[in-house]
């Protein structure tokens, strides 16, 4: 046992700790602790009042026991008693106990707060500090409420001594974090800022942390700190290490304060004033220069402190992002560190370079280090460093080096640590898609990815490759051929079977001409894998087989035999059983025409954000962001499939007859697949209308209360999420309007001049009949007279289980209107009334007709519509990556004709169209200017009718 150094020794405590240490087993330790707890409890309960010393000792023992990991459920009161002791040592133990254990017993809070109040106003600074430490350690809402106004006074008081000010600053910081909104201290702002000028370095060090947090919360109140911070920083970096005495750490002047100041400056843009800006740049240069000087000490502490300042300075340089010279110098400095013998520096250099790769000024300088980084990936012994190397390769990847980087990553993937494989797979998948100059390379890369790291290839990755192949005509034949070759390997990963099954099912015909991959060979190859696969994959293969029946009628009997095999028809898995049964029926009952329609090739997927990127974002927000920033620069990449059209989609609704989807159960990628099964469902439900296949299920599913409502109350009403679906229908005319567990509503509209025809398809998803069904359209007062709606064909009042009925509306647009008409549906299901209200996707833009015109014509009209009332302009943040082709698609879907070669800036979009109503026709011109750097759009619409400009602007705002 060591000699207890100083202060007052608690002998009993030391003995107890020794006892515990001497315990040979966990049981012995527990026994000793229980004995002690019993002893303390009896002391606390005993008649004899304990003196302060004993109380302190027992409280300290309890604390020790708690810190060993045991629960303590008494002693809090005794600890609180210690707070009011006039002996410092007892008070101190009391506060320690409370700071550590208080959350578990807050009914004493009032008492504690009262004691803190006494101490905080004590004339002795040591007592004030104890109280402040306790407030800062607990930092609860009660503390914030009780002391939120007391603590600032101490901070700016002229009387308080330095150490009290230091504690007060950080105490306030903790309270501010607890309740940021009620403690902005705007009235104190200037006095708090001026603490930066305090002559006591300790006070400045503590205060900067507070100012940093306050600045992040309300930058405007605290912007005055920038110039003070710059001059303070300047004084530190130009000082010699002897100037700052105690605040010099291993020959580095005030590293903590420097780093805090550099971080504070990252809360604000570069100072505008040339003098301050110049001084700041000078500081940063000095810091960079100092790194070239020979070290003043060989101690690692010296280099750590120096480099800590350097890395923070580099962060600030990246934040400023407008000083090319500094950025390149920073990059060179980091380049030296990449080969440093200190692992820590290599790690940090890789990390910082990731950020530099995102700046246009230093991106090229970063790329020069490609070889070194690849080498790091291969030779680093520490997985966390290798991880950073992967991140950096990902960040520096562009069109020129993508093939090499992807190849290196694929190569490394074979031996990569399990911990980082999944993320690497995502990164390879994203890079190969993003920089694919031809799709054969992309297909090869993804298939290789599945080969080397099949287990780590998540659903998103193989869904994505299918989306891309389906959307790219030029990749389909190659994909079919390659996947076929890959499947021939004796052992191939199940993910390969999934991709293979799907792609051959769609595009197997493209390679069927070759006798080596004739239909029967394809089928036998796939079926040879069937028995080794999981039920989900088998279900997918069954769908492939039925598609084969359509593609290759000549092997129909072979496939029907497989489908009718008892292994399938009596499979324990209900889904497989059902698919086998339905598919074999489908193949034998229906005509070739119906079969061809049902199994038609998949329509292209709507363009959307890569689900892989979304997944990576979830995993590593920072690195995905870095890529996005990068993405803007490379937006011309051929992979237009990357467009973020719909950022958030709900999973496709799952009905009982198609609970396992062909392509990815419940993932966004699967949406259009439901078409197919929907169609099937129609066939079996006996309902005609194969045209309903176009129903696209992208709906938000809203909750509906299935319970029977109390008599007399309103039936439960479901309102679909209007903004979400209306937004979707701005650009297209058909799709699923609404869906819940009972009902699916599809819509298909046609518009010509001022006339519109809206077809509604109501599908009963339950096995039982829906009765008292009615659908009606109501017009608001504003719409009355502007829009005429007539029912052409009414839906029947009963819908049988599983059936679909139609309802047609005719419309005429008489004059300009601004809001969509509301459709109200009522029906009874199993005796319970339900009602649904939703907006019909009929907005003024549906009556648009695009017009073509040349530049002179356009500008002539543009000038004619020059009055302020005729123009409406909006500036808004881009919601999706700025991409010309998707924007054009949307504008065309919106109804306007996109005109090319008119605007001198090819990035800008211009369009023209006429809104046709019965009463008037309004010509309308549009200009949409993207700003890549700011990720903003400016939308200008001019129309002879100002109300129309406004309405259209409102509709289009935030849609890009």
């Amino acid at each position: 046992m060591p000699a207890v150094s100083r202060g007052d020794a608690m002998r009993g405590l030391a003995v107890f700790i020794s006892d515990i240490r001497n315990c040979k087993s966990k049981e012995a330790e527990s026994k000793r602790i229980n004995k002690e707890l019993a002893n303390i409890r009896s002391k606390f309960k005993g008649d004899k009042t304990l003196d302060g010393y004993s109380k302190k000792k027992y409280v300290c023992k309890l604390l020790f026991i708690f810190l060993l990991g045991h629960d303590i459920d008494f002693g809090h009161m005794e600890a609180v008693n210690l707070l009011s002791s006039n002996k410092y040592t007892e008070k101190q133990i009391g506060y320690l106990f409370i700071s550590v254990l208080v959350s578990s017993n807050s009914d004493l809070m009032k008492l504690i707060i009262q004691n803190i109040k006494n101490d905080i106003s004590s004339p002795k600074p040591v007592h004030v500090n104890l109280a402040l430490h306790c407030i800062a350690n607990i930092g609860s809402v009660e503390m914030a409420e009780a002391f939120g106004s007391e603590v600032p006074k101490l901070l700016v008081s002229a009387q308080a001594n330095e150490s009290v000010k230091q504690s007060a600053a950080l105490c306030l910081l903790r309270l501010f974090r607890t309740m940021p909104d009620s403690m902005t201290y705007a009235e104190w702002a200037s006095r708090v800022i001026h603490l930066l000028n305090d002559q006591h370095m300790g006070v400045v060090t503590a205060a900067v942390s507070l100012i940093h947090s306050l600045s992040q919360h309300s930058p405007n109140d605290y912007k005055g700190c920038v110039s003070l911070a710059v001059s303070r920083l300047s004084r530190i970096v130009t000082s010699t290490y002897t100037d700052l005495l105690d605040y010099t750490y291993y020959f580095v002047p005030a590293p903590w304060l420097s780093v805090k100041l550099l971080r504070l400056l990252q809360c604000y843009p570069v100072p505008d004033e040339p003098a301050i800006r110049g001084r700041l740049v000078e500081c940063l240069e000095t810091i960079l220069n100092k790194c070239q000087e020979p070290p003043k000490s060989k101690k690692v502490q010296h280099s750590n402190a120096k480099n800590a300042v350097l890395f923070e300075a580099i962060n600030l340089i990246i934040h400023i992002d407008s000083e090319p010279n500094l950025l390149v110098r920073a990059c060179n400095q980091l380049g030296q560190f990449l080969q440093h013998r200190e692992t820590n520096l290599r790690y940090l250099a890789l990390e910082s370079m990731c950020l530099l790769a995102g700046s246009e000024f230093s991106a090229d300088a970063v790329k020069k280090h490609r070889e070194t980084v690849i080498n790091a990936l291969k030779t680093e012994r520490d997985v966390s460093v290798r991880q950073r190397a992967v991140d950096l390769l990902y960040a520096m990847c562009d069109k020129t080096n993508s093939e090499e980087i992807v190849a290196e990553m694929l190569d490394y993937l074979k031996i990569a640590d399990y911990a980082i494989r999944e993320e690497m797979v995502l990164k390879v998948a994203i890079l190969s898609e993003k920089y694919a100059s031809d799709y054969t390379w992309y297909v090869d890369t993804i298939l290789q990815l599945i080969r080397v790291a099949g287990d780590y290839v998540s659903e998103e990755v193989w869904h994505r490759v299918i989306q891309i192949v389906i959307n790219r005509d030029d990749a389909q034949g190659y994909a079919a051929k390659t996947v076929f070759e890959n499947l021939q390997a004796p052992a191939c990963h199940e993910n390969m079977v999934k991709v293979g099954g799907y792609i051959l099912g769609e595009f197997g015909n493209l390679i069927a001409g070759d006798s080596r991959s004739s239909p029967l060979v394809q089928f036998n190859l796939l079926h040879s894998k069937f028995h080794l696969c999981s039920p989900a994959t088998r279900a997918l293969l069954l769908s492939t087989y039925i598609k084969f029946i359509n593609l290759f009628p000549e092997i129909k009997p072979t496939i029907q035999n497989v489908l009718r095999n008892n292994n399938q028809l009596r499979n324990a898995d209900v889904e497989l059983q059902q698919r086998a049964l339905e598919y074999s029926q489908l193949s034998s009952i229906t005509s070739q025409d119906v079969l061809a329609t049902v199994l038609e090739e998949m329509p292209p997927f709507p363009e959307r954000e890569s689900s892989i990127l979304a997944k990576l974002k979830k995993k590593k927000p920072a690195s995905a962001q870095a890529l996005e920033k990068d993405e803007e620069k490379h937006k011309k990449s051929p992979a237009s499939v990357e467009n973020h059209v719909e950022t958030k989609e709900t999973p496709p609704p799952i009905t009982n007859s198609n609970s396992v989807d062909l392509l990815g159960l419940g993932t966004p990628a699967a949406a259009p697949e439901t078409n197919n099964t929907n169609a099937l469902w129609d066939v079996f439900g006996g309902s005609p209308a194969p045209e309903e296949q176009v129903i696209d299920v992208n709906m938000s599913k809203t909750e509906e209360n299935p319970g029977v409502p109390a008599a007399g109350s309103e039936p439960p009403t479901t309102a679909a999420n209007e903004t979400q679906y209306l937004t979707k229908f701005l650009f297209k005319n058909s799709g699923v309007l609404f869906e819940n567990d009972l009902l699916q509503i599809g819509v298909k509209c046609e518009f010509k001049d001022q006339y519109g025809r809206v077809g509604l398809f109501f599908g009963n998803k339950t096995p039982t009949q829906l009765n008292h069904f009615s659908a009606s359209v109501t017009l608001t007062d504003d719409q009355q007279g502007k829009l005429v709606v007539a029912t052409q064909k009414e839906a029947p009042s009963q819908i049988d289980g599983g059936a679909q009925v139609q309802h047609f509306l005719n419309m005429e647009c008489v004059s300009l209107f601004s809001d969509a008409p509301v459709l109200r549906i009522r029906y009874n299901h199993q005796g319970a009334p339900h009602s649904v209200s939703l907006k019909l996707p009929v907005l003024i833009n549906k009556f648009f007709e695009g017009t073509d015109m040349d530049a002179t014509n356009f500008f002539g009209r543009w000038k004619q519509l020059g009055q302020p009332a005729q123009e409406c302009q909006k500036i808004f943040q881009a919601k999706f990556p700025i991409d010309a082709s998707s924007t054009k698609l949307k504008l065309t879907g919106f109804g306007i004709a996109c005109l090319s070669g008119i605007d001198p800036n090819p990035e800008n979009m211009v369009g023209a169209g006429i809104v046709k109503t019965k009463d008037l026709q309004v010509g309308c011109l549009l200009r949409l200017e993207p700003n890549q750097a700011a990720r903003m759009y400016r939308l200008t619409i001019r129309a002879s009718n100002g109300v129309l400009s406004q309405t259209l602007c409102d509709l289009l705002e935030d849609q890009f």
Binding site: S104, D246, V259, Q301, N304, S384
Partner: protein, 161 residues
Amino acid sequence: MMKFMLLFSRQGKVRLQKWFYAIGDKEKKKILRDLVALVLQRRPKMCNFLDWKDFKVVYKRYASLFFCCAIEDTDNELLALEVIHRYVEILDKYFGSVCELDIIFNFEKAYFILDEFLLAGEIQESSKNKVLRAVENSDALQEENQEAEATRSILEEFGLT
């Protein structure tokens, strides 16, 4: 800001834990268990930083003790390493060549010193001398009190009560 600081032995026994944000006991125990295991299995030449959950973990071994802290994503790793070192220096000066046993038997002192050095997860005072002076001042206050306690019973001296 620093989120928490831990001291643990090579055997995984936690000697000090300081949490700078509100967190439930259950979560604390989970973090302790997972993080201690993670750090202990790292080899000597590896880098001192780890990306772990939402934190950056910075650790360093001093003799038989690991000092380990978790900082936020935007914090400076190298400086956190030196925060650890400065704390070790202060402990060393205070106890006179500090060892694990000093921290076990005087755990309350280790906490008091930490409170003078770090508050709310930020550096309060980076000067070693100033921190030591503050701690020694409060020790002086304790010694005044000790006189009065000199007359304690013999049983008490042997730690039998």
